[in-house]
């Protein structure tokens, strides 16, 4: 594994382009586009204000930079660096901005979710979507980019509108039986839309593309409900993580629960492997992972080494009981992700914040638990194989694959607290983001 040097970053905005050739990062109001493999600066753009959000267009030709404070979105072209585009929402304000799947329209959500404006880069036309819902995931595009579902709320009732992205024509408009729609997500096959209610109500609704209600799932009535949802890449399974520390998996044939995955504090099953991160006392001069020795001395003084050890089952994990009278408690399954080959599901129970649970989907059993020293910040599956990268806010990146797991210390002086990471589309490298810096990690194909 090779690591690049640390570069400046602000706002955790470091993204690979969809075609994998470039890497865009922001430093305050500057947008820096680098080559993905050599990290040479290809382009440098300056925006009018501090950039809060960047997004690549789907064909990797344009990048939008949103500045919420000023209500401005600036779009830059990679082909023609002279080309510029500025969208000013004016007094309407801006809270969110995103590309359409064809890469030629920008959807801006104005302040107070008054409306969503669809700006076109090809024509002079502007479309408005009224009454968008102010929720976590109000706009969802299908994977093939044909349809867009928007959550709306009129007269204290929730609706979902489905638009054809080609010409922004309304295809379907139907109401949902939710109290307060919290989010919508398309299945990867683009035919089923999952909509779930606020955490006060456990309700997951499944709609077909043509607006028919296929099924409604409710696990229990009163306690807090759905916290996170994830579709499996084959659209066969829908994993619902809830506040009762369980993940329920529905199957796409009957939309009924096929299993409940529990996250107890004690793991007793003999078939589960528990990797525990333990600190190694820092030693100077021993073997390191492929970086020059001079740095080793420096880093060894400042950071503690750690490694994975296999704990003997039964293992009891560190369980945190949150304060009871706060809203949005840190309870329940907050992170869910399926691996790209549909074999594994990684979850995080917020009650046990320093553990990643990896479930084998083929057997529907707990396969591995990674117990870290610090709270898990982010994990992401490799887009090509079943390999999971985890970061916990330390300067180490953790990789797990069915062959084993490894702790890799990012070389560098000073603190590099990795808060987020993002894989390259080829699965050969990933960008590690901290508050002020980022670093690209190159993985060799054979290892791990």
């Amino acid at each position: 594994m090779d690591f690049s040097e640390l570069f400046k970053l602000s706002g955790l905005l470091g993204r690979f382009s969809p075609d994998g050739k470039c890497l865009a990062s922001c430093v305050q109001h500057r947008l820096v586009v680098r080559d993905a493999s050599s990290l040479q600066i290809l382009q440098l753009y300056t925006c009018l204000d501090q950039i809060q959000y960047i997004e690549w267009s789907s064909d990797s030709l344009f990048i939008l930079c949103a500045m919420y404070k000023r209500g401005i979105v600036q779009v830059w072209s990679l082909e023609q660096p002279d080309w510029h585009c500025k969208i000013d929402e004016g007094s309407a304000g801006l809270v969110a901005s995103c590309w359409s799947p064809d890469g030629r329209h920008i959807l801006n959500t104005t302040e107070f979710h008054l409306r969503i404006t669809v700006w076109s880069l090809c024509t002079k036309s502007v479309s408005y979507i009224k009454y968008p819902k102010a929720c976590q995931q109000g706009v969802a595009f299908t994977k093939d980019g044909r349809y867009m579902a928007v959550a709306e709320r009129r007269d204290c009732k929730d609706f979902i509108s489905i638009f054809v992205c080609n010409n922004w024509q309304l295809l379907r408009h139907f109401d949902t039986e939710t109290q307060d729609l919290f989010g919508i997500e398309w299945a990867p096959n683009g035919c089923v839309l999952a909509a779930w209610d606020t955490c006060l109500e456990y309700k997951v609704l499944l709609y077909s593309l043509d607006g028919r209600l296929l099924s409604s799932y409710r696990a229990y009535e009163w306690p807090l409900g759905v916290k996170s949802i994830a579709w499996s890449p084959s659209s066969q399974f829908l994993a619902i993580g809830s506040f009762d520390e369980k993940v329920r998996i529905l199957n796409h044939v009957t939309w009924k629960k096929i299993t409940e995955l529990d996250h107890p504090a004690t793991i007793a099953s003999k078939k589960t492997i528990v990797y525990k991160e333990v600190e190694k006392s820092p030693t100077v001069g021993t073997e390191r992972l492929s970086f020059p020795p001079t740095r080793a001395l420096a880093s060894s003084l400042f950071s503690t080494q750690s490694k994975y050890e296999i704990s003997q089952v039964p293992v009891s994990l560190q369980y945190i009981k949150p304060v009871a009278d706060r809203a949005n408690p840190k309870v329940g399954v907050g992170m869910l992700a399926f691996s790209a080959d549909n074999c594994f599901l990684a979850t995080k129970n917020d009650n046990i914040p320093s553990a990643v649970w990896i479930w084998d989907i083929r057997k529907l059993k707990l396969s591995v638990v990674l117990e870290q020293l610090c709270t898990i910040q982010c994990f992401q599956w490799d887009p090509c194989q079943s390999r999971l990268a985890v970061c916990t806010g330390s300067s180490r990146v953790y990789l797990w694959s069915p062959a084993g797991c490894v702790v890799v210390q990012v070389p560098g002086e000073g603190d590099f607290q990795i808060m987020s990471l993002s894989w390259h589309s080829s699965g050969n490298s990933m960008v590690l983001l901290s508050k002020d810096h980022f670093c690209v990690c190159y993985l060799e194909r054979e290892k791990v």
Binding site: K86, I87, D102, Y147, Q169, W222
Partner: protein, 566 residues
């Protein structure tokens, strides 16, 4: 003692009545007498002396004797008087009587002892029973007390249980109440939320209006130049057609997705059907065949016959392709039936194994553990033997491959000898067979020759007969002309002569010479000169002898190859 005294008084008075009353008294109270005797078990000598002397004194001797006599006679003893009325005492009878009385006394004492023993026993039994009774009474008391205690406890526990039930009910009620409270609060919150939301919407509307009114003069979007569409096409107007097309496309997408899923499900179904078929076959093969298990047959006879029918029907390939409800039901039912039968069978086997271990074997095809063990031992020994055999064979093979040249040559020579001997044997056999074949052939050909000659002779006969007829018809009857029957005889003679001559070595040599000249196609050229030679010899010779047909005769009728073999 007192009784005796009272008794002795009437005796001294020597009054018959008193004596009678005395005797009756005596009879009335034998037990008291006995008790008196018991009490007087060990009388002292002196007492006895005085006691005995009290009854009989010098004065009343006769009376006492008479009394004694009367008593004895009444008791059935013979009289102690010498004669019937005399006063002479028969000492012998007296002694006898005394003896008898002593014996009687002994008997009585013994009986008394026995009775005393029994009395003691009964007394002890009685004591024992009384003790038992007392103990049981105590126990009963204890148990009664225990029962009371337990009842008390039971009552307490029941009351506790009732309390707990009550608590549980209370808790449940509370839970229900809390749930109701929650739901009511939730509705209240929802209502409030809705109200606030409406207010918020109103604010949003107002804000929206203000924002829209306060539009900036400049365009909200500034672009250097418009970019082409990603797919290169031009934008289209929104019309009904586009709407329809959108709908169409959407349905297409949905349909393709469903089709894909259906395909997958079909594949999965086909796989599962295959698996079921396999399972069914396996189950059928595992189940015991009907003939060996008559017992099972009578139990599930009906079911098994159904199973056979099912097998017949459902194992056809086309049935597996059909997916209609009834076929599927039948299939699953049949598999379930078979699986159940298999389960029963396995359970029976288990039972039999456990029963067989104890030794109770009812069925002839179940072997006990000992038999099984014996069998396994035998098999193991067989395996051992086979292994040893294999080892020795391997060794021999090894030897053969790795032994020195001399031994190999020797071995090879031995093998060669063996082979040669075998070959010689075979050659001998072959030659024998050949000879046999030849003989057979000869006889066959002989027969054929005879047949041919006879035919020829017949033909000649016919010819001569016709000639004769012709001649007879012309009128002259020559003595040389022979009548039909004798013509045959003559022809036979002729044939014989021919045969005879043919067997001559001269003929043979001539023939062979001619044959050698032209080996392949002997038959045709040889035919022509031969008959002439034959006829010549016939005319010359007249010797007739019986000889077996020559071997070489059949050349006229038989193929050439046989001649060549000669």
């Amino acid at each position: 003692m007192g009784d005796w005294k009272t008794i002795t008084v009437p005796v001294l008075s020597s009054d018959s009545k008193n004596i009678l009353s005395y005797t009756s008294e005596r009879k009335r109270s034998p037990t008291s007498m006995n008790s008196q005797v018991l009490r007087l078990s060990l009388p002292s000598c002196k007492n006895m002396h005085s006691f005995f002397s009290a009854f009989c004194t010098e004065e009343n001797l006769d009376q006492s004797i008479a009394y004694i006599d009367r008593e004895l006679t009444t008791l059935g003893f013979p009289s102690i008087y010498a004669e019937s009325k005399g006063k002479e005492i028969n000492l012998v009878s007296v002694i006898n009587c005394m003896n008898e009385l002593l014996v009687l006394q002994h008997k009585n004492l013994r009986a008394q002892e026995e009775v005393e023993m029994q009395h003691l026993k009964l007394g002890s039994d009685m004591d024992h029973l009384q003790n038992c009774y007392a103990k049981l009474k105590e126990q009963l008391e204890l148990s009664k007390r225990e029962i009371v205690g337990l009842q008390e406890r039971d009552r307490q526990l029941q009351s506790k249980n009732r309390n707990l039930h009550q608590l549980l009910k209370n808790e449940k009620d509370e839970v229900q109440k809390l749930q109701n409270i929650i739901s009511s609060r939730a509705t209240q919150y929802n209502h409030d939320m809705k109200r606030k939301e409406r207010e918020y919407n109103k604010l949003k509307e107002r804000l929206h209006q203000l924002v829209m009114n306060k539009k900036d003069k400049k365009l909200a979007m500034e672009v250097l130049n418009y970019v082409g569409r990603a797919d290169g096409k031009r934008g289209a107007w929104r019309t009904d057609k586009t709407e329809a097309r959108n709908e169409e496309e959407m349905y297409k997408v949905l349909l393709s997705d469903y089709e894909q899923r259906q395909k997958q499900l079909l594949l999965a179904n086909a796989e599962l059907k295959k698996v079921l078929q396999q399972m069914k076959k396996d189950i059928i093969s595992l189940l015991p065949p009907q003939k060996q298990k008559p017992k099972e047959r009578c139990e599930d006879g009906v079911v098994l016959s159904d199973q056979e029918e099912d097998i017949g029907e459902l194992n056809k390939e086309n049935m597996w392709e059909m997916s209609c409800e009834t076929v599927r039901e039948q299939l699953t039912n049949s598999i379930r039936k078979q699986w159940r039968m298999l389960k029963n069978h396995v359970e029976k086997l288990d039972n039999q194994v456990s029963r067989g271990h104890s030794g109770a074997l009812n069925e002839k095809d179940v072997i006990s553990r000992e038999d099984h063990e014996l069998e396994t031992e035998r098999l193991e020994s067989e395996i051992q033997q086979c292994k040893e055999m294999i080892k020795t064979q391997q060794q021999l093979l090894q030897q053969q491959l790795t032994c020195d040249d001399d031994t190999t040559l020797l071995l090879q020579d031995c093998y060669l000898l063996e082979e040669r001997e075998r070959l010689e044997e075979e050659w001998r056999l072959f030659r024998e067979q050949k000879k046999n074949f030849e003989k057979e052939r000869k006889s066959f050909t002989e027969a054929a020759i005879r047949l041919g000659l006879e035919r020829k002779a017949f033909e000649e006969d016919r010819g001569t007969w016709l000639k004769q007829q012709f001649l007879s018809m012309t009128g002259d009857c020559k003595s040389e002309i022979v009548t039909t029957p004798s013509a045959f005889l003559k022809s036979k003679y002729l044939v014989q002569i021919m045969l005879l001559h043919n067997s001559d070595p001269d003929i043979r040599s001539v023939r062979s010479a001619s044959r050698q000249r032209k080996p392949p196609s002997v038959s045709s050229p040889a035919v022509s000169p031969e008959p002439c030679l034959i006829s010549q010899y016939i005319t010359q010779n007249s010797v007739a002898s019986e000889k077996p047909a020559a071997e070489n005769m059949p050349y006229l009728w038989v193929e050439s190859d046989k001649e060549e073999t000669e």
